[in-house]
Amino acid sequence: MAKELKLETRISNASALKRSLAFIADLLVLNLVIGLPFRRLLPKGDFKTLKAMLNSSPALLAQLSRVYMFMGLLAFCYFTFSEYRLGQSIGKAMLGIQVISNNKRASMLQIALRNVFLFPVFPFVLLWLLDPISLFLTKRRLSDILTNTRVIAYETGIKV
């Protein structure tokens, strides 16, 4: 007599690799969506050229910071609105991972706080260094730990 097969869904912390790939996919989306309208405002050339440009006009730094702040704000809106409503951004949806808090949907405040690293201002920029370190050590970003959120992966397999 044939054994009955059942589908089983297991939930676990998303791996650092999956999260990194999801983030890269989101960056590609943001590059198109946000990068395109702002492209004409950003200086062209490499780091050396940019440095020379800022040296010749120090006030330009303030103007460029403003542009980067607005770009950060739009990226923040992208992650916050998609993760709050759906629990995932496009990248996360592609990789099958989701943001939760205590096995429930995370609140708007939690989602917003875990995404503040997108604003290019101190002290949030410190998270650009601390988040990846924490992710590779504990499978959770420092922002996840501080906001009590988790990024989980669904794995569906056959239960024998």
Binding site: V29, P37, L41, S56, A59, F70, L74, Y78, S82
Partner: protein
């Protein structure tokens, strides 16, 4: 499952569209505030007419660029055959008061007061094909007196002084009137030449060579000291680099009404 996927697709589409729209609106609002080199166009006849370059607008743009602390240099992109001396002088005077580096780049044509504006800048670049020079003044009018005579139309003249209706197209100018009008043209030419001489630091010999009002190509103008460099955008960037300005250009645009745009289409510069 299918419904959930449809909802997600719609949600993401809406979110991305909203972000693109917001991005474009914000970038438009920030448009004039980035870049370290401001570019001001001087395209068309200089004057207050419909198809002309209104001095008020150019002056407004100069103020905007001059007050922007991130702008290190201002480039005047010139494509003009000249125009009203008074309107041009207003622009020239304003350029002289700019406390930043000013550069003129002459495109197809930068003649007469179009060149006058260029001469007020710290550095002048023109293509070897650019038409420039034509430093001088002219005045003309169409006289109808011959036509009137043919049709037996008379000009009844009542004047408080002998020269009051000087320049009227309905009567033949007298010798005295002709001499007087010519002397005014000469006077204006003198002012014009003197200003160009000062702006470009020209010698009397160089001045005498351009005082005929001759048009010159970029290379000829360079030989006579009217232009500093023969070239275009590459030379402009190189010059800015030599001033330790790594350029990121910001265009300051003149406002054009619909009537003005249609009018400029009809009076487009035929030299290409």
């Amino acid at each position: 499952m299918k419904q959930e996927l449809r909802f997600k697709t719609r949600y993401f589409s809406f979110l991305l569209l909203a972000l693109i729209l917001a991005g474009y609106i914000i970038s438009m609002l920030l448009a004039t505030e980035t870049g370290n080199v401001g570019v001001i166009p001087v395209h068309g006849t200089i004057g207050e007419g419909l198809s002309g370059v209104a001095p008020e607008q150019v002056i407004e743009l100069i103020d905007k660029a001059n007050e922007n602390p991130s702008i290190a240099a201002i480039v005047f992109d010139i494509n003009s055959r000249g125009g009203s001396p008074v309107a041009s002088q207003r622009i020239v005077d304003k350029i002289k008061r700019i406390n930043k580096t000013t550069i003129a780049i002459i495109r197809d044509i930068g003649a007469s007061s179009g060149y006058w504006i260029a001469s007020a800048c710290n550095h002048v670049i023109a293509s070897k094909y650019s038409i420039t020079g034509s430093i001088g003044v002219y005045g003309s009018y169409i006289g109808y007196y011959g036509l009137m005579k043919d049709y037996n139309v008379t000009y009844e003249r009542f004047v408080s002084g002998e020269l009051k209706d000087m320049g009227s197209p309905f009567k033949q100018p007298t010798q005295v009137e002709k001499q007087l009008l010519q002397s005014k043209i000469k006077l204006m030419q003198g002012y014009f030449l003197e200003d160009v001489k000062q702006n470009r630091n020209l010698s009397e010999k160089e001045l005498s060579q351009i005082s005929t009002g001759v048009i010159l190509l970029g290379k000829e103008a360079k030989a006579l000291g009217l232009v500093d460099e023969v070239g275009g955008d590459t030379e402009l960037e190189a010059y800015l680099n030599s001033l330790n300005i790594s350029p990121s250009f910001t265009s300051y645009k003149l406002r054009h009404s619909l009537i003005k745009s249609l009018s400029s289409m009809l009076t487009r510069n035929p030299i290409a």
